[in-house]
């Protein structure tokens, strides 16, 4: 029995890292009419994505903003995403994480960085959300809903929706 479990875990690990040869990247930015400190205050907590991303029902993390903290995101409409924090910096106002479970998002080997930078004028900020990932389907000739374009479209949608909502939220305050 133990051998079967071990084999299943090994398979799961292999599948988790199995990916094709073509990595994709998405970068989305938004300018917000608020100082970087104010924007950072809203986004900085790894366990508080639910507070500003409209697709997230709940978000909890195991170790707050410490490296290796794991957050579990329950999505509205069902689905669970798990991410591990790889780096977090208050002076740089940025953090990076790597996805351990992609849930319904058609990606694999996904990592992303969220950064708040000073904007073009005083009292403004530019938020940059950047991700690198492979499509979820690891084999050749993927179906259209699981191909590279689908992966890029899904991640772009997540970033655009989140950043637009963040802007609205912060500027309303």
């Amino acid at each position: 029995m133990r051998r079967i479990i071990a084999a299943a875990l090994l398979l799961a690990t292999t599948l988790a890292v199995a990916h094709g040869p073509t990595r994709q990247k998405v970068t989305e930015t938004i300018t917000i009419n608020a100082a970087p400190e104010a924007v950072w205050a809203v986004v900085k907590d790894f366990d508080k994505l639910q507070a500003w991303h409209p697709a997230v029902e709940s978000s909890t993390a195991t170790q707050g903003n410490a490296v290796d903290s794991e957050r579990t995101l329950l999505l509205k409409g069902g689905g669970k995403v798990v991410e591990k924090l790889e780096s977090w910096s208050e002076p740089d106002r940025k953090f990076s994480s790597r996805m351990r479970e992609a849930g319904p998002i058609p990606v694999s080997n996904y990592s992303s960085t969220l950064a708040v930078k000073p904007g073009p004028n005083a009292g403004t900020s530019v938020v940059e959300w950047r991700g690198a990932f492979y499509r979820g389907y690891p084999n050749n000739d993927p179906p259209p809903d699981k191909n590279d374009e689908a992966a890029v479209a899904a991640v772009t949608g997540i970033y655009k929706t989140g950043l637009a909502n963040l802007k609205e939220l912060v500027e309303k305050k």
Binding site: V17, G20, N140
Partner: protein, 362 residues
Amino acid sequence: MAYAAGLPLRGHNAPAAKRLFIMSKHEVGSEPGAAPGPGPFNRRQGMAGLFAWAWPTGAALAAEASTGPAPLAYITNQGSDSVSVLDIQRQAVVATIAVGKQPAGIAVSRAAGRAFVTNPGDHTVSVIDLARRAAIRTMPAGQGAVGIAAAPDGRRFYVADWYGGQVLAFNAATLLQTAQQAVGKVPAGLGASPDGRRLYVANRDDNNVQELDAATLAPLRRFAVGEHPFAVEVSPDGRHLLALNVMSDDVDVIDLAGGTRVARIAVGHAPYGVAFAADGRRAFVTNQRSQSVSVIDLTTFQVAATWKVGEYPEGIACLGDRLLVVSWMEDAVSVLDAAGGKLLATIDVGRNPRGFGQMVAR
């Protein structure tokens, strides 16, 4: 990319200029399966084709004629379906060559006068004529090849079929397949021994590197390495094989005479590419997720230095005192001083550049 105005077409450049004019008829955008050699002049492509090819200046042409081939690097742009030709001395892109879909691997062969590119997006290989700076053929090769290498004598090139679990050998002149060998799971990088007798393939999902006869592809030895070997290369003196383990974040050094591992060197996260210093005493390894290059001393097998570079450094090549590092995230190539790691220049290339393999002519 238009370079129409004010180009020198007279004087000492006249013969060279004429050569360039004729070649421009069939450069960028060669059809898959098209035969090499002059094809019918395509009027629609004609004028656009003339200007789309970056036209070297008169000075550069004169320099090329007098001092031998310019130091060039060929960067596969996986997001632009093209290869950027970088002149390392001028620190500029001098040509952009259309190839197949999602190009990744590259093997430049001075002896063959060609560069070979894998296009995993459409299961093809593109063959670039170095003098013409154009793809003369894009042809099917397995189910999706990624790794590619050229024989040192330029007579053959090899591809590792990532999805097909095999290595294929081709005649570099006729482009006909000469051999095929089933290998392990997800064959990734390929490295040829400098004496031309052996070929090494990283079986990524089997955690081993397999040695093949370079002429027949007959399987010989197998070396167990770390987790998920990706790139493999043989040192210029032929003595050591380096395997980069992208999951265990280390480099295995195999002594090829004895067939045993002599070192396992911890490097940064997800090591992707390796290049050797001109004197063979050091190796440079890109760490994709650490934004750094590890400099390995090949006499002690220790990391001598770690240099900060751009985000997602991937392809790497050393030419004389210059180290080129491709930054996949930044869509650029960094030129560093190979002795101390100082950044000398950053050159923008196409989208999602990788440069997996041999980016400069051996």
